[in-house]
């Protein structure tokens, strides 16, 4: 199971990196995002939701495929 999830994260590395870069990296880099509460909340959502989606999607596919 762990190996399966790790493989899913490796497969999704490019979209994950690109999304983090544009949604968190760029606002931080150009200073547009003052470190205020709404931006911190946005960062928490952006950092946590995609890995959660990857793990849940992987688990669902694993469950559908059944034991190998």
């Amino acid at each position: 199971m762990k190996a399966s999830i790790a493989r899913a994260f490796r497969g999704a590395a490019a979209p994950l990196l690109c999304y983090y870069a544009i949604a968190v990296g760029v606002p931080l880099a150009n200073g547009a995002a003052a470190r205020n509460a709404p931006f911190l909340e946005h960062v928490c959502f952006v950092l946590l939701v995609p890995p959660f989606l990857i793990a849940v999607t992987r688990l669902r596919f694993s469950a559908k495929a059944g034991p190998r």
Binding site: A12, A14, P15, L16, C18, Y19, A21, I22, A23, V26, H42, F45, V46, V49, P50, L53
Partner: protein, 175 residues
């Protein structure tokens, strides 16, 4: 890595930078190139017209929904352009075709993913699903992250599949 691939990737990087600069200073009128197809497709999907309002964006009076500058999907297109360019380059793409295919794919993906996000946002707003800590704004944020990140995942798969199809077969390989 060949020279033409390096040049193509540099051009893609330059295009990403240019897009970001254009987006940061653009008025809503300057973003018609992406807002117009988005507004038209959302209108078709929801069955209600979106009219262009100067200085504001595309407005649906029926849904009281405005597709404004921040809804344009330009940031998604920038992320998609970089990701697609690298995916196609790793699969052997080079030169003008690498740049052209990356730009075309990222533009089409940005419009389609944004249409899906806006249609879902309109539906969620009308369904009044927020309660307690899950305010309408937080649900809108969550929906945006799920749709945009999901869109990048699908685009990555499409780009890799296209690259595999376009990759020249070694001479003498069975067809």
């Amino acid at each position: 890595m060949t020279g033409s691939r390096v040049v193509a990737l540099a051009l893609i990087g330059l295009a990403m930078w240019g897009l970001k600069r254009h987006y940061s200073t653009a008025e809503v009128e300057d973003l018609r190139w992406i807002l117009w197809p988005t507004g038209r497709l959302v209108a078709v999907a929801t069955g209600s017209p979106f009219e262009f309002e100067r200085g504001a964006g595309f407005l649906s009076r029926q849904h009281l929904f405005l597709i404004e500058k921040s809804c344009a999907g330009v940031n998604f297109m920038i992320a998609a352009l970089g990701m697609t360019g690298v995916a196609l380059a790793r699969a052997g793409g080079r030169g003008a075709s690498l740049v052209g295919r990356s730009v075309a794919l990222s533009y089409v993906a940005a419009v389609l993913v944004n249409v899906l996000r806006i249609v879902l946002a309109i539906w969620l707003a009308s369904a009044n699903v927020g309660s307690g800590w899950w305010t309408a704004a937080r649900i809108h944020r969550l929906e945006g992250i799920v749709v945009y990140f999901g869109g990048l995942l699908v685009l990555d798969l499409v780009a890799r599949r296209l690259a595999r199809v376009a990759r020249p077969r070694p001479s003498g390989a069975a067809s």
